[in-house]
């Protein structure tokens, strides 16, 4: 199989669009797709200050890498969750980010270490609070969302960018459709606008397949953490991803089609009734926006 651009041996082929590229041209194609999504969904402009949430995984590091290459003002945020899982997951994640930064002189990283700052790791808080039926994912999500928003607002960032890829988005979409969670469907989008103290959130990789971000990281030589979070093993999202990949195998392009037609239906007002926004007010303790009366859910954790 030959590269469509130059005719050399292709390193990677994408059945969803019958496109095969060599390493050199793949490294041109991938950033161009990220840039296209940034423009298409009006995520941010070159003058904006972007905070990229980085986990040490392929998606977030690939996103940060591309944004820096494209000349955006992109600073990283790493949240140390204190997850060990028998192999030092959080420590290894930070090592990968530090390794990446060694290749990008001048890159700025903000770090918030949860055990150091709040006295307990995420699994410890989850055990104490008995949330999430033995899995700390619910507490972890809550803590990450809170810290990301706080750092974005205190650092006066225009947008908070996350490395959610198309497979992440489609798995969430599939789950929400399966259970007809209309409220969640109404809120799923490539851009969540800023409001009442909530930072604007953007997902520049939302139209790129997970295997495409993994391929970019490998071809670009980004050393990322291959292991999944030990608590994510067996997660429902991963089961949905497997099902969707089976569909993709039989019918290339299905995942993208599902997502694009969903966004189109949303644009045409299919979920408009459910799109009413819940009122936010500042937490009496920390000042961050919350829907909970008085003190926010994050402050109630400690």
């Amino acid at each position: 199989m030959k590269c469509r651009k130059c005719g050399r041996e292709a390193g990677f082929n994408m059945r969803r669009q019958k496109l095969a590229l060599c390493a050199e041209h793949y490294l041109e194609w991938f950033p161009s797709q990220v840039e296209r999504a940034i423009h298409k969904y009006k995520m941010f402009t070159p003058g904006d200050k972007v905070l990229v949430a980085v986990s040490g995984g392929k998606d977030s590091l690939a996103l940060w890498d591309v944004l820096l290459d494209l000349g955006y003002h992109a600073e990283g945020l790493y949240i140390g969750l204190g997850i060990d899982g028998g192999f030092g997951y959080s420590r290894l994640s930070l090592e990968k980010i530090e390794g990446f930064m060694a290749t990008r002189p001048g890159a700025v990283l903000h770090t918030v270490d949860i055990p150091q700052t709040y006295g307990e790791s995420v699994p410890q808080v989850a055990r104490r609070k008995h949330r999430g039926r033995g899995k700390p994912c619910a507490v972890c999500g809550l803590i990450k969302r809170y810290v990301m928003n706080r750092v974005a607002s205190e650092g006066h960032f225009d947008v908070l960018a996350t490395g959610h890829n198309l497979d992440d988005e489609v798995a969430v979409l599939f789950g929400n459709t399966l259970h007809w969670q209309i409220g969640y469907l109404a809120r799923q989008a490539p851009v969540l606008e800023e409001r009442d103290g909530l930072a604007c959130k953007v997902k520049p990789l939302c139209r790129l397949y997970e295997r495409e971000t993994a391929a970019y990281a490998i071809v670009k030589g980004i050393d990322y953490i291959y292991e999944e979070c030990p608590h994510a093993v067996g997660a429902t999202t991963n089961r949905y991803k497997e099902l969707l990949n089976q569909l993709e195998l039989d019918s290339p392009g299905s995942k993208l089609q599902f997502y694009i037609t969903f966004l189109k239906a949303k644009e045409e007002g299919l979920f408009q009734q459910a799109a009413e926004q819940v009122a936010l007010h500042p937490c009496q303790n920390c000042g961050q926006p919350t829907t909970a009366p008085g003190i926010c859910t994050f402050c109630r954790l400690w």
Binding site: G163, I218, Y224
Partner: protein, 63 residues
């Protein structure tokens, strides 16, 4: 024979078929893994050759 490595598992497969066919033969989904030979990504239409060592990397990872 050609050696395939995925996580902690190893298999031996006859040379001559494509990477994609070999992945399917191993019971994996070609959408869920990437093939790497000599540290370089190879497209899954490539025919595997005698003594190749192919590492399969899960595309799902991270937190």
């Amino acid at each position: 024979m050609v050696k395939f490595i995925h996580r902690q598992q190893e298999w031996e497969v006859k040379a001559g078929m494509t990477i994609r066919d070999a992945i399917l033969k191993l019971g994996l989904n070609p959408e869920a893994v990437l093939a790497v030979r000599d540290e370089r990504l190879i497209n899954d239409d490539t025919k595997i050759q005698e003594d190749d060592v192919i590492k399969l990397i899960d595309v799902v990872s991270g937190g």
